[in-house]
């Protein structure tokens, strides 16, 4: 390796006082001043590499966390899995005395996740049905119609809706929403839609699927609307201008130029909202009624996968009970991972161009 030497003439590069000292050093063919300085600072290759490894380690810890959760949940739910296998998710017990259906009775070791799966699906999809039209409406208003002054504050307000913790939603739902439903909304639903069989007058508490779905809808609205807004703003302006130039009204422009182009991303946003609704725990636990039964009526009490874990885990009666609850948690984990992965791929496909680049 060649020596680094001072290219300038020595008298100019060095200050006058230590000149004599330097000439003696140079005669002994020692490393130049810059080389010595660099060597005294040490070699950074080692430090650079270990820094990079450290940072990669932090990044890989995210994989580690997911794998760890997965492995732990599988390990702890082994007992229930060995006992029931897939029957755990659809088994129906029949009570020997009353001949009525029975699903979940930990004391008599009856374990079936069916009512919880039913409750989770019913409350989530009902919430989606309520939230999606509203969320798309808000996104359309904010991106296409809203006057500039209102846009910022309104977007901020909907974001704020996403930041409120679920326990506060639950508290509000318990003391404001449920009484409101009980006194005013449920009687109306029963009298007008009772003939469908979905709204029967057998639950005077006001708790149940409808209450859970309304609070869930309020909670997932900001997620869906902010993602919809994101994909709608990603639609190029030339699309809008082209449709307008053909003589379309504003709504026709939004429908043909914007919503059509953004539809994959909107579906992604909806699926992401679904993922959030499936796993939402506290607010649902507080208003769904927590009884492991299956009723056709949407006004009756039910329970959800997350709610039963929240309610029973800390006071589980037996190891099998605990294991069964962890198995419900594992199912919830797998389902939400799939739902979220799907949603992310759809959103990326729209906002970043080619879907092939998404992973």
């Amino acid at each position: 390796m060649p020596e680094i030497r001072l290219s300038q003439p020595k008298p100019q590069s060095e200050p006058p006082p230590p000149a004599g000292k330097n000439t003696t050093e140079a005669s002994k063919v020692s490393p130049s001043a810059i080389r010595k300085f660099l060597l005294s600072r040490g070699n950074s290759a080692m430090a650079d590499r270990s820094f990079q490894y450290l940072m990669s380690l932090c990044a890989f810890s995210i994989f580690g966390i997911v794998i760890l959760i997965f492995v732990e949940l599988i390990g702890r739910s082994q007992m229930a899995w060995n006992e029931f296998h897939f029957k755990f998710f659809y088994k129906i017990y029949v009570d020997s005395f009353s001949h009525s259906f029975l699903f979940w009775d930990p004391v008599n070791s009856h374990f079936s996740a069916l009512p919880f799966i039913y409750g989770t699906l019913v409350s989530s999809f009902l919430a989606l049905a309520l939230a999606v039209p509203l969320a798309v409406g808000v996104a359309v208003f904010l991106t296409e119609m809203c006057p500039g002054i209102l846009r910022g504050p309104l977007a901020f307000l909907t974001e704020l809706l996403a930041a409120i913790p679920s326990i506060v939603y639950g508290l509000w739902a318990m003391y404001v929403l449920v009484p409101l439903l009980r006194e005013h909304v449920n009687p109306l639903l029963i009298s007008s839609l009772g003939w469908t069989g979905f709204f029967t007058d057998d639950n005077p508490t006001g708790l149940g699927f409808v209450a859970a779905a309304i609070i869930l809808a309020i909670m997932i609205l900001p997620i869906i609307s902010s993602l919809t807004r994101e994909v709608m703003t990603a639609v190029p302006h030339s699309q809008r201008e082209a449709v307008l130039a053909l003589g379309a009204t504003r709504w026709e422009m939004i429908r043909m130029g914007v919503l059509r182009n953004a539809r994959i991303g909107i579906v992604g946003g909806i699926i992401l909202g679904l993922g959030r609704a499936l796993g939402e725990t506290m607010a649902v636990t507080m208003v769904i009624g927590n009884s492991p039964e299956i009723h056709k009526s949407l006004l009756s009490n039910g329970s959800s996968m997350a709610a039963v874990i929240a309610n029973e885990f800390a006071e589980a009666t037996s190891d099998m009970h605990r294991s069964a609850l962890i198995e419900i948690g594992l199912a919830l984990f797998i389902v939400t991972v799939i739902v979220n992965a799907l949603a992310r791929l759809l959103v990326w496909a729209v906002t970043r161009g080619a879907p092939a680049d998404a992973h």
Partner: protein, 288 residues
């Protein structure tokens, strides 16, 4: 022919107006619950918030008064522990994504996993922390709660750190490297330092998010009616206490639950507003 055209035109105009009206209506319907929730919370919370709330521990059933001092301190302990776990891991991951793994398949995979992890229900995080910490330890503890919350912070911190680092202009990095600064030093004292306002607000966002989490604490930190700051014992937390009090049949406890919810919300709204201020005013853009 002419009348048909006119009819069509008026129908189209009508559809346009109807769509506009529906969009406005849905926006109003979305803003209403927010205003109602906030209004009710402020009305209920303020009337029951007092000095004792911040200084006293809960009193036994039947007595009035008492506060949530232990829950506030407990929440602080849990969040401190969570930050110790979540923030270094998250920032490190973000640095990797923005500085070393840019454009690689591995970085895509990590980003994707972080986004998916972000969507995993908090109750599942609680189950994982239960199996990881509570079962080996043999009892509920503050440690387990901190681990659960810490894991939840990682993806949020990681993604915001990455986004903020990507906003730092390349010229700054090149200037530092051109002066002979080692890469690690350039990343830490130039890039990260430039992006630090954004990274700090990202951490606050993650902090605010886990501050309100109840589900992962139900069977890790468990809650405690008494004063405790030990990491090896069950500890009280504000959201847990709100949950317990909300489900209780006593009016006085309901009052405390509303006050607790107000405190939680004020904390969260403050940090979210700060995040919005930093990202919209472009604190970072001043450097470019």
């Amino acid at each position: 022919m002419r009348t048909e055209f006119k009819l069509r035109a008026s129908f189209r105009a009508f559809t346009d107006h109807a769509a506009t009206a529906l969009a406005v209506l849905s926006t109003l319907l979305v803003v209403t619950p927010l205003v109602v929730i906030f209004g009710y919370l402020i009305f209920k919370g303020f009337s029951s918030l007092n000095f004792a709330f911040f200084t006293k521990v809960p009193v036994p059933v039947g007595e009035t008064g008492g506060g949530m001092a232990n829950a506030i301190v407990g929440s602080a302990v849990l969040l401190g522990l969570a930050s110790l776990i979540g923030i270094p891991l998250g920032i490190g991951g973000g640095i990797y994504l923005a500085e070393f793994g840019r454009g690689t398949k591995m970085a895509y995979a990590i980003r994707f996993t972080a986004d998916v992890l972000n969507g995993v229900p908090s109750i599942v995080m609680g189950l994982a922390a239960f199996s990881l910490v509570v079962v080996p330890q043999g009892h509920f503890s503050a440690m387990a709660g901190g681990v659960a919350l810490g894991i939840m912070m990682v993806p949020t911190v990681c993604r915001t750190t990455e986004e903020m680092l990507l906003m730092v202009p390349h010229a700054i990095r090149e200037a530092a490297l051109g002066l002979g600064v080692p890469n690690w030093r350039s990343v830490l004292s130039i890039t990260v330092k430039t992006a630090s306002p954004g990274i700090i607000t990202g951490c606050m966002l993650a902090f605010a998010r886990v501050a309100g989490e109840t589900a992962p604490l139900l069977f890790t930190a468990l809650g405690n009616q008494f004063w405790s700051t030990s990491l090896n014992e069950p500890i009280a937390a504000l959201p847990l206490q709100i949950y317990v009090y909300a489900l209780s049949p006593y009016d006085d406890w309901h009052r405390l639950a509303w006050a607790g919810a107000l405190v939680l919300i004020v904390l969260i709204v403050l940090s979210v507003s700060l995040v919005r201020y930093v990202t919209s005013r472009g604190v970072l853009k001043g450097n470019s």
